[in-house]
């Protein structure tokens, strides 16, 4: 039986703690008697037979939904939407959950004689996936059956002819989604629920939406009132999506939701030490750590990035839930929590987050400085339920090389955001007010989003808003080992070592602050009392 998450109180016998640092890691010694390390639960057991579990879920759905075969008939229009490259992290070893589920759904559709089937990758404002990425997600068989016939689409949030406005919620939020999906007799949405934030009404209301629609919840106010994104009932982001999802349903759009959960087995065997508690490292783990860090020390950054991006996680499916959206998501959330929740008592003055090489928006790409901010303050900071692990006015210490580097194809508007916007202000409200519309409507960004592999022009703004709650909550942010000019442009303070960072933090939180080290990945969720 896997062990639950664990909070280690650091004493003088505690070994140095592994801290992620981009494409690498460091062993950091934490001050004894006032530091703690939060460890993730061990991976929960995988489903014995995922394919059978999928069948069972489709035939015995949750909520008031009929079984999937009962919703399928000859002559109908069926749209299968699925999550994009941002999930899971790292990308999982084949077969991906999406492939397993889509193949099962297609089998049932074929049996029912459904021949108008279109697959849509639910990009929202993310970049279009490459052929190789799509093949990895949905499998060669599905890809070869649909793509050559133009039946595998990637959602285009800027296609004036490909969107339909379904109305406004009672809060005045526009609901505009993919026209093909909205006009189908049935949407089957296939999720990978890596964290509790994923899925539910957010799948269609965000994944298949337009900028006009998304701006109602991807904004500073909503982000600041989502505490956290991982706790649906305290997340304004989710409240807004739920309003939209209910309007979508009321508009007559039928959604059959399929959500799959994973365990947090994030790294293959040779890197197993990354998931272990340091005092339990074997001789082999120590050797692997030394060999890896020494090797990385001699590896050019570009090659190191390429090596880390090639990692495929041995994530295993732990649950599959299908049927009516809200009932499905409630079951999914329970399963995610069962894997990820760690009880943590109270907050500390300082939180240390080692940032890994990957976040949802740099798969096969570069973790640019804006994504460093988003990963640290948008994601890791928000992996809590109750309250953040660091107190109001406390200090977040991030560890990442933070290179002044951008992927020119994937992140063109990020470069401009970094050069122009952040050189003027880092205040999310000011940024939203002064710059968002210009970037969101820039024709060049729009062109690159629609035809190349670029994130939408407004996407870097959303990354910044994602960290808006943390920016408001924290007294200071320090990045260890980052490129000083890039760190300063973010509005943060650079430090050479963790010791220096703690010294700098003392200006904000006093001489002997309490410290939490969030030992992530693997992913977990701090349940802070």
């Amino acid at each position: 039986m896997p062990r639950p998450g664990f909070v280690l109180e650091v004493d003088r016998s505690t070994p140095p703690i592994l801290t992620w640092h981009g494409e690498g890691f460091r062993l950091e010694r934490l001050p004894p008697e006032r530091s703690r390390v939060i460890y993730a639960p061990e991976p929960v057991a995988a489903l014995d037979d995922p394919d059978q579990a999928i069948q069972d879920a489709l035939l015995a759905p949750l909520g008031d939904s009929p079984p999937l075969p009962d919703l399928l008939r000859a002559g109908m229009r069926l749209t299968i939407a699925f999550d994009d490259i941002s999930l899971p992290l790292p990308p999982m070893q084949r077969p991906d959950n999406r492939q397993r589920v889509i193949e099962a759904v297609l089998e049932m559709a074929a049996s029912a004689g459904v021949d108008d089937v279109v697959l849509i990758c639910a990009l929202a404002l993310h970049r279009r996936m490459t052929e190789a990425e799509l093949r990895h997600a949905i499998g060669d068989r599905v890809y070869d059956s649909f793509a050559p016939h133009g039946l595998l689409l990637q959602h285009d949030a800027e296609d004036p002819d490909g969107l339909v406005h379904l109305g406004q919620t009672d809060k005045g939020e526009d609901v505009e989604i993919n026209k093909r999906a909205a006009e189908s007799d049935l949407i089957v949405y296939v999720n990978i629920n890596l964290v509790a934030m994923d899925g539910g009404h957010k799948s269609v209301a965000t994944g298949l939406a337009s900028y006009r629609s998304l701006r109602h919840h991807h904004n500073v106010k909503t982000m600041r009132h989502s505490r956290s994104f991982m706790d649906q009932h305290n997340s304004e982001l989710h409240t807004s999506n739920w309003r939209m999802g209910r309007l979508i349903a009321a508009s007559g759009v039928k959604v059959f939701q399929i959500e799959t959960t994973l365990n947090n087995d994030a790294f293959p065997k040779p890197m197993a030490f990354l998931q272990k508690r340091e005092w339990e490292w074997s001789g082999r783990d120590r050797a692997a750590y030394i060999a890896t860090t020494k090797g990385l020390g001699r590896t050019p950054p570009k090659l190191a990035r390429s090596i880390f991006q090639s990692i495929k996680a041995p994530h295993a499916m732990t649950g599959v839930f299908a049927g009516e959206v809200e009932a499905v998501h409630a079951a999914t959330t329970d399963a995610v929590y069962a894997q990820q929740l760690v009880s943590v008592e109270g907050q500390t003055d300082v939180a240390v987050f080692g940032l890994p090489h990957i976040c949802p928006y740099n798969v096969n790409s570069i973790m640019n400085p804006i994504l460093v901010m988003c990963m640290g303050l948008g994601y890791l900071f928000n992996l809590y339920r109750g309250k953040p692990i660091v107190r109001q006015g406390g200090v977040a210490i991030l560890s990442h090389p933070t290179p002044w580097a951008f992927h020119p194809v994937h992140h063109p508007s990020y470069i401009d955001f970094f050069e122009e916007v952040l050189s003027e202000t880092t205040d999310p409200i000011e940024i939203e007010k002064t710059y968002e519309e210009r970037f969101a409507t820039d024709e060049w960004y729009r062109h690159l989003y629609r035809t190349s592999h670029a994130y939408h022009g407004v996407h870097p703004f959303y990354m910044w808003y994602w960290g808006a709650h943390a920016l408001e909550h924290l007294g200071d942010v320090i990045i260890v080992g980052g490129e000083p000019a890039a760190v300063r442009r973010l509005g943060f303070s650079p430090a050479s070592t963790l010791t220096d960072a703690l010294e700098m933090a003392s200006d904000t939180v006093g001489r002997h602050p309490t410290i939490s080290h969030f030992h992530c990945p693997p992913i977990m969720l701090a349940d802070v009392s």
Binding site: E419, E420, D442, W444
Partner: protein, 392 residues
């Protein structure tokens, strides 16, 4: 009197060129510039006057000379040994305070009838820079016979003098000449509607161009300034630049401002309609060509030299490349002379603040080094202070 003098010495020019390749301004120590005790220049004619400089600025063209990087183009239109310094505020023997318009055109040289350019009021385009009763020299500060501002005394023709308005400081007055150059450059480009202008370089010239564009060109709605150093960025913004970009960020800044696209090789589909190059290097002209829109005008205000760049966009996009040298009548300012416009501009825009440091002549090496790295050292204009020079 004491004077800084540039001698025709090939070894010293060569040494300056080598030294300045390592560090700009290093030619001040090893190059052709020497502090010497010399006789004041004689009056070339009865109507000429003697001047005692109070302040004299160090210009980019002076630095190029001291560092041995000036173009051979100037060889026949200068005479050695000359005393540099053409940004001059000085006292006349009658006690009035003047700034010098340094161009040595036909009127100054006693040539009558004047050349066509001088006859039309464009003395800066004079065709007789080697003629008349004066030794060759395109300006005061490059002619052995009239002296220059980096000394205790020089001579000037009355037509070269502009009286300093009452109540002005010397520090403000010494900015008039470089500001006149900036005015001339800013008013050289064609007019249009809602134009985006790019100013490359944020030294004295660049900043005065920005000030002139901001106050004299209502058709320019946005000014993108290329600046490297914090003081330059701050000054450019305060003088009217609407966007500041580092050199490497220029293309993207222009793209954002003009709504154009960037193609695979980094070229813009559109660009700015007016680009003013205040640097005059291969890099700056290449940048100018990269961000100039089809049909745009590039004005070269900074003194260039040998430049190697791809002129394909100039041809394919019908870009006009125009020089803007010195000063003259400004049609866009109702025909007023650049100097007159500059006097107003210095006062209105508070350009006195561009003067960052002054040095005495005996500290000329430090002065040259400071001027050559002004931006990096948080400065803009550096000048010699002659007010304590002994009168003889």
């Amino acid at each position: 009197m004491r004077a800084l003098q540039v001698e025709r010495s090939l070894p010293r020019f060569a040494a300056a060129r080598v030294a300045s390749a390592w560090r700009a301004g290093a030619g001040g120590k090893v190059g052709p510039l020497r502090l010497a005790d010399v006789d004041p220049p004689d009056l070339p004619g009865a109507d000429w006057v003697r001047l005692r400089p109070r302040l004299s600025g160090i210009c980019g063209s002076d630095l190029a000379t001291v560092d041995g990087r000036s173009s051979q183009w100037f060889r026949p239109i200068v005479t050695f040994p000359f005393v540099p310094g053409h940004e001059i505020v000085a006292d006349t023997e009658e006690g009035s305070r003047v700034v010098v318009e340094p161009v040595l055109g036909c009127a100054v040289r006693g040539i009558d009838p004047p050349c066509n350019a001088c006859a039309s009021g464009h003395g800066h385009r004079c065709e007789r820079l080697t003629g008349g009763h004066l030794a060759p020299g395109l300006q005061t500060g490059f002619c052995a016979e009239v002296g220059g501002g980096w000394s205790g005394a020089l001579v000037a023709h009355p037509t070269q003098l502009h009286e300093v308005p009452g109540g002005w400081s010397d520090e403000a007055a010494v900015l008039i000449e470089p500001t006149a150059c900036g005015v001339h450059g800013a008013l050289a480009g064609p007019t249009g509607d809602d134009q985006v202008a790019v100013v490359i370089g944020a030294g004295t010239l660049g900043l005065t161009v920005i000030a002139a564009l901001n106050r004299l060109r209502p058709d320019i709605s946005r000014i993108i300034a290329v600046a490297k150093h914090p003081v330059q960025k701050e000054m450019a913004t305060s003088l009217g630049a609407t966007m500041i970009a580092a050199p490497a960020e220029l293309r993207r800044a222009v793209r954002r401002a003009t709504g154009s696209w960037i193609l695979d090789n980094g070229q813009l589909t559109g660009g700015a309609s007016l680009v003013i190059d205040c640097v005059g290097s291969t890099e700056s002209l290449s940048d100018a060509l990269a961000v100039a829109a089809p049909g745009a005008t590039i004005v070269m205000v900074g003194m260039p030299g040998h430049i190697s760049t791809d002129l394909t966009p100039l041809w394919q996009r019908e870009i006009r490349l125009a020089g803007a040298y010195a000063y003259g009548p400004e049609p866009m300012a109702g025909g007023r002379h650049s100097f007159a416009v500059a006097i107003d501009l210095v006062a209105q825009a508070g350009l006195e603040r561009l003067l960052s440091a002054t040095y005495t002549l005996d500290r000329h090496s430090e002065a040259i080094a400071h001027a050559a790295s002004a931006g990096r050292r948080g400065a803009v204009k550096v000048a010699f202070d002659l007010r304590t020079e002994k009168r003889r």
